[in-house]
Symmetry: C2
Subunit: 341 residues, 2 copies
């Protein structure tokens, strides 16, 4: 409630670092945003028979990213993780709001942050439409909006026994990068560079999500670890699944690691931002066609089974199709938890 | 990326403290929310020809509220400030997302927080539809959604020279409470109690906003101080304004203070969450009728003037209608800034 003026106050911040970039996108990405930054609310008007998909993610310094993280990459990732949620529903991006707490007004940092933010916003035609800036420990809270024809959203609850389980791209690289940065594992600097990009610059699978609208029975994005996340589908669909551990798609760099590390990182590494989805086996050809069209590997990794006992069970098979014992399987069936210490 | 289980992890938190309360509201407040908590995104489907109003506010411990603040009141206020933004556009609440960083999992605190949150959510038929929980310094980021017939939103840019300037309720009480809590001012414990409620429990003027859709030419909610906020309307509408300082509506408790304090707190106190709006003088009768219907004082405090020089000028008049000098007016024309130290 101070009445003293500051060199760069809240309104200037919005105006200088966020509004200009947002305005420059209006003509290009004006798919239903009728009012952007600068009023009490933004206004969006989805086309005729569309639903709005809404997702929120909060990133906290020291928890989701290291103190001193590159602000350009950080901004990119903050929006990317939200776009990945839109992708998992099959939604097409409409726009996003940004609420950000900053320890101080650091113009160099803000310049770099807004550069990263608007670069990915443009890439995915997802304009900044509003938000809030305040002083506080560095915290980035984004809420993103997408549109999708009514009834076409791909929910977690639609998987059926007999469906195939698929995953896009490759999994485990972000976890490998983290292990290398923590010096738990040695990587050549070239490999580390390539793999760090996977950690810092996830590629939201928006085009894939849209293609899967009439194909997938259920989908989600892999943020906390493939098998742990898959269990959300199993729980909501009231089914179980069997997964072929050796079928999990891995990068050539991850494949240089010993096989237990490969499987562990691929199965429960986290931060992958690939889509895991289920589909009737009648869609097999169609999915391969989508893979070719998008030039994106889509890998069949298992099958949905009838529910045994409400435990959302994942049965793991080895390369010969033999079921792993409970104790063999246990390390693969844990998931990242932000409150785990 | 820990694989150790915790007694109460992220998913349990959502399930236990937020999803149940959210689900219990679904039947009651199911105005267009087609999918709530539990998937990658929530889905809303606004009725036919409606726009969606979107607003985000972030509250940080130590900045927007004291450490140790009552979690029930805090939750209430966190949603109220967002509802107040919806009110200022004339929007009807649809739902909200909550992203919250918590220093630790404190079940007593969470119980109290969710109680306050769902109480106000029910009161305003605004269900929780999604969000994110994480560990971190206590930070509450809410994004709220409202619907409004296309083209009917009350923007800040519509004020015209000759329009009247109005404000709802009374202003300055939250600032008075803050002054008392800081021991800058003495209040009886009874007065302090009543005035603290005004600070902790703002009443979003949703019904007023809806009534003003076809009446007001511009509106905003007063969060940072009446005159400072009014300048946002002036700037966007490219007009100036004259305000009668003695006409600002004050509570009986504020009126016990000396007149300079009264005017200062009313003009630039902040945290009022009343609506300030402009309307053609032809709407005078209609506005008085709305005031009677809602049993809410609406006070005419000034007039919109043609723009002099792009400075969004507010001219202050004393009780006899005489213009205050620049030095007399200066203390009233400052506004709260979250980055001011």
């Amino acid at each position: 409630m101070s009445s003293r003026a500051t060199p760069l106050g809240e309104f200037d911040l919005i105006e200088r670092f966020f509004k200009t970039g947002a305005d420059s996108m209006r003509s290009k990405a004006d798919q239903g945003v009728t009012l952007g930054i600068g009023d009490d609310c933004a206004l969006i008007k989805p086309p005729g028979n569309e639903e709005i998909a809404i997702t929120s993610d909060m990133l906290v310094e020291g928890r989701h990213f290291f103190a001193g993280a590159d602000p350009t990459l950080l901004a990119r990732k903050a929006l990317a993780v939200n776009l990945s949620d839109l992708a998992a529903m099959g939604a097409s991006p409409l726009g996003f709001t940004l609420a950000i707490a900053l320890p101080k007004v650091d113009e160099v940092w803000l310049e770099a942050f807004s550069k990263g933010l608007f670069a990915i916003a443009k890439e995915y035609s997802c304009p900044l439409i509003g938000g809030d800036t305040t002083a506080g420990p560095l915290t980035i809270s984004i809420t993103a909006f997408g549109s999708i024809p009514a009834g076409k959203a791909i929910r977690r609850s639609g998987a059926k026994a007999g469906d195939d389980v698929w995953v896009s791209g490759a999994v485990g690289d972000a976890r490998l990068a983290l292990a290398a940065l923590r010096h738990e594992i040695d990587l050549s600097s070239e490999d580390l560079q390539r793999i760090e990009d996977r950690m810092h610059q996830p590629m939201p699978r928006i085009d894939l999500g849209i293609q899967l609208r009439d194909v997938a029975s259920a989908a989600l994005d892999v943020s906390d670890g493939l098998l742990g996340d898959l269990r959300h589908i199993l729980k909501q669909s009231q089914v179980d699944a069997q997964i072929q551990l050796d079928q999990l798609p891995k990068s050539s760099i991850l494949k240089k690691q010993e096989s237990s590390i490969q499987n562990l990182f691929a199965a429960c590494g986290g931060d992958d931002y690939e889509l895991c989805f289920t589909a009737p086996s009648s869609q097999h050809e169609k999915i391969q066609e989508i893979s070719r069209t998008l030039n994106l590997p889509l890998t069949l990794i298992g099958k949905i089974l009838p529910q045994k006992d409400h435990q959302a069970r994942v049965y793991l098979l080895d390369a010969s199709g033999v079921l792993l014992s409970d104790s063999q399987a246990a390390p693969f069936l844990n998931s990242f938890d932000h409150f785990a210490q």
